[in-house]
Subunit: 259 residues, 2 copies
């Protein structure tokens, strides 16, 4: 049976999602815990890789295993076994060829900025004490919408087939003492959101004029964009999949309803 695991993690203690030699990663911890609980070697495939220190409120990974009868109980045991900074929220049955990475149709990230000093959010938001022009930052954000080449916001030396991403949503919102940037796209390049946020912050500080942003994109060169914003403000918040992957689950639930 193929399962989708919905989980969240505090990124501080991990070198990102993906397994790396000599470093502790979320994938490695999840695989170890699943393998012990299920008494078979489990390999998980994540929806993407998050960078060192980046958080996930909702991350999806798939794995194959013998059928798990009581999923609620299994989630309870898995959470008790996993460290405090990783939580599993759901375990969903999928069709056999569902793929956490290739089937994802969109990913949403949020970048959280604490406006002013906040002693409680040092690890979970980037603290900015200077004034920011949010109207200009939103004007600049609107230049990102659409299918474009985002090489200017990609880690240099990234080995990818294409730099084109389709950005569907890019918006700054004030929420109490926080400023949240929300961006949704079909795919993201490595370091892309942090490079975008760093550039939009330069716009907010009046260091880069809004009309420069389309030109930065057109350059296709990382050196024209602003610095990367720190990892600890960034959260992966949503990964979306087509409904057809969960047909089994829907059928099972409908069968239950009809009983």
């Amino acid at each position: 049976m193929r399962y989708f695991l919905k989980l969240g993690y505090h990124g501080k203690n991990y070198f990102g999602w993906q397994i790396q030699p000599e470093q502790i990663t979320v994938q490695e911890v999840i695989e170890r815990c699943l393998s012990v609980l299920l008494r078979e070697k489990i390999e998980v495939v994540g929806a993407g890789r998050t960078d060192t220190g980046v958080h996930a409120k909702e991350f999806i990974a798939h794995f194959d295993a013998q059928q798990i009868k009581d999923r609620t109980h299994f989630i309870f045991r898995l959470n008790a076994f996993l460290p405090k900074d990783i939580a599993v929220y759901n375990l969903i049955e999928t069709i056999p060829d569902a793929h956490a990475r290739f089937d994802a149709v969109s990913r949403t990230y949020e970048y959280k900025i604490s406006v002013g000093k906040n002693p409680f959010w040092n690890e979970l938001a980037y603290q900015v004490t200077k004034n920011l022009n949010v109207a200009k930052m939103n004007e600049a954000a609107s230049c990102l919408i659409g299918k474009q080449n985002f090489q200017s916001f990609s880690r240099t030396g990234s080995d990818v087939k294409t730099y084109f991403c389709e950005v569907k949503e890019a918006l700054w919102k004030r929420e109490g003492d926080f400023l949240i940037f929300r961006i949704t796209a079909d795919r993201f390049l490595r370091n892309m959101v942090r490079a975008i946020v760093g550039t939009l912050l330069e716009v907010g500080y009046d260091k880069i004029p809004v009309q420069e942003v389309p030109k930065i994109i057109a350059q296709k060169d990382r050196s024209f964009a602003g610095p990367s914003a720190p990892a600890h403000g960034l959260y992966l918040v949503k990964v979306e999949y087509p409904q057809r992957l969960f047909l089994n689950k829907i059928k099972v639930e409908e069968a239950h309803k009809n009983q």
Copy 2:
């Protein structure tokens, strides 16, 4: 000039508010930073003492100093100088004999419980995965209201003149994935809120019947109450003072308005 300083702190790295030999405390850090910035030896008096690891969203301390002309700029400099886990929110001029501790008419604490596993709140909420009967916990909380002897919820060996406190408000509220206990009283004994929360949790787990709570209070003996809830879920959130302490400030503001 006597000032009231309004501040907040993340309690994790401190042995509470009050200066202690060989331990780092919030009071000591504040005094050191104020003394350096104001170039005179400053001593601060806090509204109370918080225990090791307890947080404060709003703590008040008073100190005497030469008049500070630009208070907004001073707060900015003080925040830049203080560590990340202590923030100053306001600096208020008071009458010369105003006292942060003796003039406080009420204090409010909140205890934050994360219902289920939450990887982001390990340091700032107590995580409970077992089911809690919140209706019963609120019934038990209502027994605390009024002026009563709270020795049963006081640290044994506390050297105080009276165990009487007047509790004005004691209520559990559900807020999303959190359960918040809010309690207001004229004064609190050491460890009192954590002992109360620990006891109410036993009621929520159906280990102590609601009708036992008035009997526990009547025993005046700590050993009859439940265990102390952990420090990292507890926040001092408000300290209230009579308006007369700020007459100077109000007069100044009115003079500005009339100009």
